[in-house]
Amino acid sequence: MAVQVRVPTILRTYTGGAKLVEGTGDTVAALFLDLDSRYDGLRGRLVTGDDGTELHRFVNIYINDEDVRFLGGLDAKLGDGDEVTILPAVAGGSADARV
């Protein structure tokens, strides 16, 4: 499955500055492995766990308009022509605040 992937500013250091890249895979997990073969290190910013089986908590991945958390996470299925968007979550808060 060939898909288009939108890469956020903060991760474009891995894609040589490219905002839109192509990848293949029938699931999000497979797509990330494919991307990592050309953009070394990118996958490490998107997944966590010893073998990278979990989506990073503070990264949002969308297939077309849908948050993959509602589609099975890394197991979410991709179809030809899908557009995948990567967005870092905008999050934070005073929990660890410097006082």
Partner: protein, 134 residues
């Protein structure tokens, strides 16, 4: 330095006050590359928490797409601290994902004054910058 117009400044403060004691969050978009925050967008705090904020993921995609379509970027990303000073916490620093943005912190811990400060957060390094309200 952050230059922001009075209407956007007041909108941020009003949003922070309205959601107190929960943290409020949002962005001010501006033309890409301009460094001018012009379009105030209050965001939902999906966490509804006095110590944490997170943009609702679906709303974030919609707003980010809209900015893309209008050739805008998030010039300011703001949130409030409701019991502590307006300074980025370790959480804020480790999660800062927009290296080009001005991170604005508004503290509502004092009932009758709102501390309003702006920072750059790049690769874990925090730099405070002056704020000019125009």
């Amino acid at each position: 330095m952050l230059r922001i117009d009075r209407a956007c400044y007041e909108a941020i403060v009003a949003h922070a006050r309205r959601d107190h004691p929960d943290e409020a969050c949002g962005v001010v978009a501006g033309p890409a590359g301009s460094d001018r925050p012009e379009r105030f967008i209050a965001m939902e705090n999906a966490e509804r928490s006095p110590t944490f904020y997170r943009f609702d993921a679906t709303e974030q995609l919609r707003v980010w797409r809209e900015m893309d379509d209008r050739d805008e970027e998030p010039v300011v990303i703001y949130h409030s601290h409701t019991a502590t000073e307006a300074y980025p916490s370790r959480t804020d620093i480790s999660l800062a994902g927009e290296p080009g943005a001005h991170y604005v912190l508004a503290s509502t811990r004092e009932p009758d004054s709102t501390e309003f400060r702006s920072f750059r957060i790049v690769d874990g390094a925090v730099t405070e910058e002056p704020v000019e309200i125009v």
